[in-house]
Subunit: 387 residues, 2 copies
Amino acid sequence: MRVTPRKKYLLTPGPTPVPEEILLTQAEPIIHHRTPEFKKIFTEVSEGLKYVFQTKNPVLVFSSSGTGAMESAVANLKQDGIKFLSVMGGKFGERWTEICKAFGADCEVLEVKWGQSPDTKDIETKLSGDKAIKVILTTLCETSTGSVYDVKAIAKIAKKYDALVVVDAISGLLADEFRMDDWGIDIAIAGSQKGLMLPPGLSFISLSGRAWEYVDKSKPQAYYFNLKKAMSSGEKYDTPWTPAVSLVIGLRKALELIKEEKIENVWKRHNFLAATCRQAIEGLGLKLFAQNPSSAVTSVMMPDSIDSAEFVKFIRNEFGISIAGGQGALKGKIFRIAHLGYMNIFDLLVGIAAIEFALHNFGYKFSLGKGILKLEEEFLKEYKKEI
Amino acid sequence: MRVTPRKKYLLTPGPTPVPEEILLTQAEPIIHHRTPEFKKIFTEVSEGLKYVFQTKNPVLVFSSSGTGAMESAVANLKQDGIKFLSVMGGKFGERWTEICKAFGADCEVLEVKWGQSPDTKDIETKLSGDKAIKVILTTLCETSTGSVYDVKAIAKIAKKYDALVVVDAISGLLADEFRMDDWGIDIAIAGSQKGLMLPPGLSFISLSGRAWEYVDKSKPQAYYFNLKKAMSSGEKYDTPWTPAVSLVIGLRKALELIKEEKIENVWKRHNFLAATCRQAIEGLGLKLFAQNPSSAVTSVMMPDSIDSAEFVKFIRNEFGISIAGGQGALKGKIFRIAHLGYMNIFDLLVGIAAIEFALHNFGYKFSLGKGILKLEEEFLKEYKKEI
């Protein structure tokens, strides 16, 4: 007998579970993208994206993973006399540095200890010490460590030194509060398979007027990811290349769901699940890894006696549940459980129960059931406030 | 903010959750049923059904709910000089009596207290007291009370008095052990939306040689549900009327999954989930309703202070989880949670957590988390035996 389940559960910080009604749109017949029917959909989607980015600027859509949009930012900003500052406190900070390297862009690095969030004073020191730095590349949620960065404060300092702030908000968007225009963010980037609750395949980028001034002056090493080309179509609610039609149709549904819930409520929901998850983890006697935890994903220190890669593999193989391990230097040392997108308290309950089963299996001493009880207690507190 | 989930969870004793790969078959283009392609599928399905019924006799397929197949049994057996005995200990026993009434069949009733299973001695008393009784109508799992009936023992007594045994195995099949041929069951009936993990829409019936002797002699008040007509097609792996093509295609997939797991393991899995569910319920201080509980569904006495209909409604409205209330005389007095078909320990965890949330909301005094802890403990015990 196998009492262990064969269903699959996705509790990773991307891809995330896709709502049933969006999955159904993916099975609909493909319509042509140069038709009034699609144009109407793309117009709706373009407006909806402004709402989730909290911007009045157009949000451009690429058929690519989020990394494509990150590349477009660097490739289209790069020009003589401009230096980038990469805020590097995890794998996705490293990605910014690697992209700069790939395009031969002049890039200064601010090393941030993994698990910590950047100290704005350190950013200011860099900016005041080197006036050539004109672009700060940072992340909202550094997915690899589960840390949220205070991009609002970073933008404030950047403004003081007349530098642009480019934010990889791929995993953070919709989980962590993010207000592009109000906070003075110059470029924001997102992906479909995170808080937007879609399959992977779309990336998004929006630029402020200040950012466009730089882009207009550059001779980009880019064709597919040429932002001026994308904008000349985008401002007419169009794309220069064939868009991923079914994903765009799914996106319309996702944006409808988000507008219906209201973005402030989406943030609050993520915030509640994240705080509750942290309580459950601490209830098991485990230590949290991130100093400033994001509401997208909770990173957890693995006790020394256990290899977190084995732990994650065990949970996936035995219980069909995908959580994430550590990346790079954190390999084997942390595990990460997401509460991102189409998730609720019951998803967390399943995830924490599986973590309890695995801890038990790996011989870790703890009080069985304490994690899931914590979830119940916190849920009931919050539920009482609602009714 | 709404922290409460909007996902839907099905923990009812039918319909039950449908596996992802079967859902996908329901979106495939419809093929014609009078083609070699469909004939191959229907042949496979017909063989697979014999396995789940544990019979060598053909299993006939109707496009109807299970009630249709129940009707076909009565309508095709009814004849002069034959009296039915309806074993009536719940809503589905009542259904047998109602069908007899609708067809003007001579029907004796054995009243069984709801929540109890029939005493075979009482059946013997009926049979020995009235030689005209030639057909016993009974259920495997009386879904309305969550009771399993010892149909093997009933069949033994029936044989002694040369009576047929007709078993409504609609909710019990694949959850409770059932061996049609070995146990000498004459007619067995099932439906698609239970242990077979399909959407509703198909019913199944299989008859022993003895049963066919009676059917052959009858002049049935039946056209759609004429068993001789169904058999003349069925023995050629065909149906007289248009079959529900996509459900049959889904059924092929379901039977593959069951064969892969092996029926003994399917029974054991249901048995484990049912036993674990009962422990969780008792851990919450609640009382079980059924004297001999089925492995398909657990029926629970609602504390007097709570109306179980309100309780079930609250769980559905607030948490998106469907469990069942009481039917008929049990309305308001019991609730029922299923562990039937495509379900696992995590489904139970979600169900029991929701029950804990609701009990808390209705002011019932209990130790929060005790039900879900019990599930974890029992799962780990069983899991250890597996590895």
